[in-house]
Symmetry: C2
Subunit: 191 residues, 2 copies
Amino acid sequence: MNFLEERILKDGQVLNSDILKVDSFLNHQLDVELLDRIGDEFYERFKDDGITKIVTIEASGIAIAVMTARKFGVPVVFAKKARSRNLDAEVLISTVHSFTYNRDYTITVSRKYLEPDDRILIVDDFMANGLAAEGLISLCEQAGADVAGLGICVEKGFQEGGKSIRAKGYRIESIAIIDEMSENMIKFREQ
Amino acid sequence: MNFLEERILKDGQVLNSDILKVDSFLNHQLDVELLDRIGDEFYERFKDDGITKIVTIEASGIAIAVMTARKFGVPVVFAKKARSRNLDAEVLISTVHSFTYNRDYTITVSRKYLEPDDRILIVDDFMANGLAAEGLISLCEQAGADVAGLGICVEKGFQEGGKSIRAKGYRIESIAIIDEMSENMIKFREQ
């Protein structure tokens, strides 16, 4: 078992077969030492891929992105969930459906921060249905940039996101993949 | 002139006497090396204050908080801007008025991540009218925690936030304070 799987078993809270709370260390309170190890892990897996930028989506992806970007020595660009008044007119836009809130939302990134010669590593805390990740991939590709891969902390392997995005040819590196869970049990995929 | 003031002059964009865009390095694209220096600066100023936690608000505060927390070796807790469905029932709540969007919004933090024996450093990218900072102070004090101070990257010295919060006895350390600006000029306060 790796460091993140161990931490999930120790401090994660399975609310039901679908919802895992990791807000004591990954997306509300943040254990910076753990984030540092996550950054090391993504660096290890993508260090030979010529990454020029780390892309994520606000809010919980930002901490992971920053700690990963430190290792690569490259900038972060985070997509915003609604068009902010202070953002440039020159934005790339993608629409994402949220099942949690049962509505569509728009994600945007300023066109000038994604360039055709960028090699992008997309990172996020969770992947479930993969719709947020697909929105981020779309933003990168609208800019003509190359998506070198996706670094995910916790993939819900029992949902379709990972399968569907891998089937499109993208490389996803998930530190922990959960194949099944209940209040008493979390089953990680052997990797 | 310090490193952040220099960077603001170089890459900041003054849209009018009120709006400074720093989204090429501080709150949309993130220069991680600069964030690292900001973390060093806050550490230098608060290292003797027994800080146990860094508190900020999503989204743009998170990167700064994480890079600051690294230096102190303490966790980050970030307040959320709307009550998320996956958040505990046990949350502390404060209401903040946004002049940018002309509406009130609710910020929340899970009660279990702020404790009476915490010594909090609040950090954020900007301080203008100070209402977000006052909301964060309120969350900390509802938990019975001590607010050791506030670390702000860019304070708009021509707005009331800094003055009003200092008048209540809080220590604010702003790396750059802008006293006046226009399309051709940014005047920093001598510190």
